[in-house]
């Protein structure tokens, strides 16, 4: 019995141990999965006609003629939807109706003045016409403002039956009667008391329509690129369509219980045949209105972005990261490899060796944020100003990163140099070569793959670090990185900014995840390269 218990415990231990390794693999999948899956959406997606318009407008990319033809097709498809929306909003937006009536009277004034000046009209007659028009307008205004159906209908009837209408025919004020006729139709359909509610709902719908289809040709051009185009991506368009068609309300399921979210069709809140037509069009004709097409937006890697990363890619960030990393390596590799060579080949003094080793280990253990503080205090505020470089700069950041990755380079190089068989060195020395010559022409080439592995790992570390460059090199907004004496945008800092700092970023999740995906891919590609080089190397060393 006791044996059995021990046996079961043993098996249990094995299972648990296996489980922990599975858990590690699962963690890798769980963490990388969403980043890869959602980040890939930044480059591979179904682009709408708005995307192609944006590409042409912001990046001068694409075929003008083809786009014009496509826009014409979508405009035809959208016309029906806009017509329905306009017809409905005309009756609901009192201010707009009033504006129309006032415009008509203003036009009339100008017209009458003109006729008087040219002598075609006597002053008395003009005054009479003016008064008639004003009466009509005031009556119309009453109708617009009335919340009582009977009252509004009466006022409209008065306008339509007015004897002055005939006199006003042929002037600017003649539009007042058709306006009354149109409004009458609306009054008969819509509950006037609910009009403010409709107006608020309509306002929401119009905003969503602008987000979905972009501003209409008659609207003024927006300052920010993000307001100049509609939904550039089909997934985004579907989300907006959902928001237009459905609305979330919170209802109380009973006293003392938490509110529950209930989805209801928005059509129920905006009645009338026009809106029914509008909702039907949005529901059924969206593909025709937006023309989605599978798109591979590889330029994501090289494009600049518009304000707040709403459109565009991660070009400046990728370049900044590369610049920082390469400069950091220019510092770390020579110093690191030399130190490693010194550790292996030169020093016999155990004191110095021990101090050196302790320092390397200490350096490896210093938290990255402390490197950031050190970079700020030493490079940014003390050393570089002596050479005329003020403030944060790529140089300060890459020097900090260089010191940070020094232990990685040293350890890998030391291991690689130590692994070179003694016989190589002995053969070289026996041929009469000096110590330096042996190292440069025999040991170093033999150790090179191992050193390279270390350098690549150090690069991946430098590319991924954020904390050391927070105060030394990185900015969230800026031009393309060019000079090493200026700060730059980097992938890691950009990802941080998009994840936490940015207000509009949640509207473009594909760009959030795209930025981090590019960084993760860069780092993982470097690591996989290192792993491959190392496995080849170990096979060679084993004599395969």
């Amino acid at each position: 019995m006791r044996m059995l218990a021990r046996h079961i415990l043993d098996k249990l231990f094995t299972c648990l141990a296996g489980l922990s390794v599975v858990l590690m693999a699962a963690a890798l999948v769980v963490i990388l999965g969403p980043i890869v899956w959602r980040g890939a959406g930044a480059m591979l997606f179904r682009g709408t006609v708005e995307f192609r318009r944006m590409q042409l407008g912001e990046f001068h990319r694409g075929d003008t003629g083809a786009l014009a033809a496509e826009t014409a097709r979508t405009d035809v498809a959208r016309a029906k939807m806009y017509a329905a929306l306009d017809a409905f909003s005309e009756g609901i937006r009192v201010d707009r109706l009033q504006e129309q009536a006032k415009d008509a009277c203003r036009l009339l004034d100008a017209q009458l003045q003109n006729r008087q000046d040219t002598g075609r009209l006597s002053t008395g007659e003009a005054r009479k016409l003016n008064r008639a028009a004003r009466d009509l307008r005031n009556r119309l205004m009453e109708a617009f403002e009335a919340t009582d159906k009977a009252q509004a209908l009466q006022a409209l009837q008065d306008v339509q039956d007015s004897p002055d209408a005939a006199a006003l025919a042929g002037t600017a004020a003649e539009t007042l009667v058709p306006l009354a006729r149109r409004y009458r139709k609306i009054v008969e359909e819509v509950d006037l008391a609910d009009r403010p509610k409709y107006a608020a709902e309509l306002e929401k719908v119009s905003e969503l329509v602008v987000k979905l289809f972009g501003p209409r040709a008659k609207d003024s051009v927006a300052d920010l690129a993000q307001f100049r185009y509609g939904a550039t991506r089909w997934d985004r368009a579907l989300a907006l369509q959902e928001q237009i068609l459905w609305t979330d309300t919170w209802v109380s399921p009973g006293a003392g219980r938490a509110l529950r979210q209930v989805r209801a069709p928005r059509a129920a809140m905006l009645p009338g045949p026009e809106m029914a037509e509008f909702f039907r069009t949005v529901r059924d004709d969206l593909p025709a209105m937006l023309q989605p097409r599978a798109t591979f937006y590889w330029q994501y890697l090289t494009d600049n972005s518009t304000t707040g990363h709403f459109f565009g890619g991660v070009g400046p960030e990728a370049l900044g990261t590369l610049l920082l990393t390469v400069l950091a390596m220019l510092l770390a590799v020579p110093v690191g490899v030399t130190t490693a060579a010194y550790l292996v080949e030169c020093t016999r003094e155990s004191h110095l060796l021990r101090v050196l080793r302790t320092c390397i280990n200490t350096l490896a253990g210093v938290p990255s944020i402390v490197f950031g503080l050190f970079g700020l205090a030493f490079f940014v505020l003390w050393l570089l100003p002596k050479f005329g470089v003020r403030g944060v700069s790529v140089l300060a950041g890459s020097l900090t990163l260089g010191v940070l990755v020094l232990p990685v380079v040293i350890r890998a190089s030391e291991e690689a140099i130590r692994a070179v068989p003694m016989s190589y060195k002995e053969a070289s020395l026996a041929l009469g070569a000096g110590g330096l010559r042996t190292f440069v022409t025999v040991t170093l080439p033999a150790a090179l793959p191992g050193i390279l592995t270390g350098v690549i790992l150090a690069m991946s570390r430098a590319a991924g670090e954020t904390a050391p460059i927070l105060f030394t090199a990185a900015v969230a907004v800026g031009p393309w990185p060019g000079s090493p004496f200026k700060p730059c945008r980097t992938l890691s800092y950009g990802a941080l900014d998009l994840a936490t700092g940015d207000r509009i970023a949640p509207e473009v999740p594909h760009n959030q995840f795209g930025m981090i995906l590019v960084l993760v891919l860069l780092v993982l590609a470097l690591n996989v390269t290192a792993i491959v080089i190392r496995s080849r190397l170990s096979r060679k060393l084993r004599g395969g």
């Binding site: 231990f13 205090a377 890691s492 993760v520």
Partner: protein, 330 residues
């Protein structure tokens, strides 16, 4: 040298002169060569001392920037007060709450990471064959390689909403979230170092245990792991260092509320750590202000903590090496 062999000898006289040269020269006979060698050695030493210099400068400059705070009368406050009001009038710089925050997320991450890391190390060193280990190694390496900002990104955009939705917490960015992610980040360190330690325990101990009739689990738990104790402890300390010093994850995922959770075991509340305080407030602290010096003082505290841990882990690893070489533990 291979190049010399391929090239024809240009002048027979110089070749003969080379041949006549004595093999070993005294400094007197080859002064230039001797001086060059010494110079080269000195140069090499200088380059190699860059590391020493870097460590020295890190300490000197952090202390230099932290000094104005330490001497201003707020120095003692740093380690005795819970209140961190750097911009109040007069300012209060009590770092206890943020130190406690660091301790919370670190201990939380160790509770998750140590058992998993140890089990995984035992699995890799004693249970699976070599081939499986070769496949598993890259998983650990990739986990270690993912940039910390990507972990933080995942924590704040994927894990935090999920926690809030599923567990009904008031906020998704809290000590628990940060602890879980830090655990994932510390596991690779713990696994690889403790695996080395377990492997370094020789076959004789294992075979002795098996010969006495132990099962594999008993051998591991009662013999191998105690024998590798100092190496494993060093692994835990190094994993802990990674968690203490990590910035991006805790800044993004811990919620940044400068408080000690109440009740004390409630990891679902937001905390704020040393690293996150430095990263988050440096942008708002103008150059030369006492606030900035206070942040450098926090950096000094952090540096002191990690330096202490580093020394401890190194001593432990040295002891483990001595033991595995067969020397008696002191």
């Amino acid at each position: 040298m291979s190049t010399d062999v391929r090239q024809p000898v240009k002048s027979p006289t110089t070749a003969a002169a080379d041949f006549d040269r004595p093999l070993l020269l005294t400094p007197g006979e080859d002064l230039a060569g001797w001086a060059l060698r010494k110079l080269g050695g000195a140069l090499l030493t200088c380059v190699a001392l860059t590391c020493v210099l870097a460590v020295l400068f890190i300490f000197v400059f952090i202390i230099k920037e932290a000094m104005p705070l330490l001497t201003s009368g707020h120095g003692w406050e740093l380690l005795t007060s819970m209140k961190w009001y750097p911009t109040a009038e007069p300012p209060v710089f009590g770092a206890l709450a943020v130190i406690a925050g660091s301790a919370y997320v670190t201990i939380g991450s160790l509770i998750v990471a140590v058992p998993i890391g140890l089990l995984a190390a035992a699995f890799l060193s004693d249970i699976v064959p070599f081939g499986v280990r070769q496949v598993t190694k890259p998983i650990i390496e990739l986990l270690a390689a993912i940039p910390s900002v990507a972990y933080g990104f995942f924590a704040v955009l994927v894990l935090a909403p999920w926690m809030q939705r599923t567990w009904g917490l008031s906020t998704g960015t809290n000590a628990l979230n940060a602890s879980i992610i830090l655990a994932v980040m510390a596991i690779p360190t713990i696994v690889s170092i403790s695996e080395d330690a377990l492997s370094a325990v020789g076959r004789d101990l294992r075979e002795g245990a098996y010969a006495l009739g132990s099962t594999r689990a008993e051998t591991l738990v009662k013999v191998v792991i105690p024998a590798a104790g100092s190496g494993i402890l060093a692994a835990v300390i190094l994993g802990m260092m990674r968690a203490v010093g990590e910035t991006m994850v805790v800044w993004m995922a811990s919620g940044n509320a400068g408080q000690v959770p109440c009740p004390w075991w409630d990891l679902g509340q937001s905390v704020r750590t040393l690293t996150a305080t430095i990263a988050g407030e440096m942008g708002e602290a103008p150059d030369g202000s006492i606030h900035r010096h206070a942040l450098f003082a926090l950096g000094l505290v952090l540096l002191a903590i990690t330096f202490g841990m580093n020394i401890a882990s190194e001593a432990l690893l040295a002891r483990a090496r001595r033991r595995s070489r067969g020397g008696k533990p002191k």
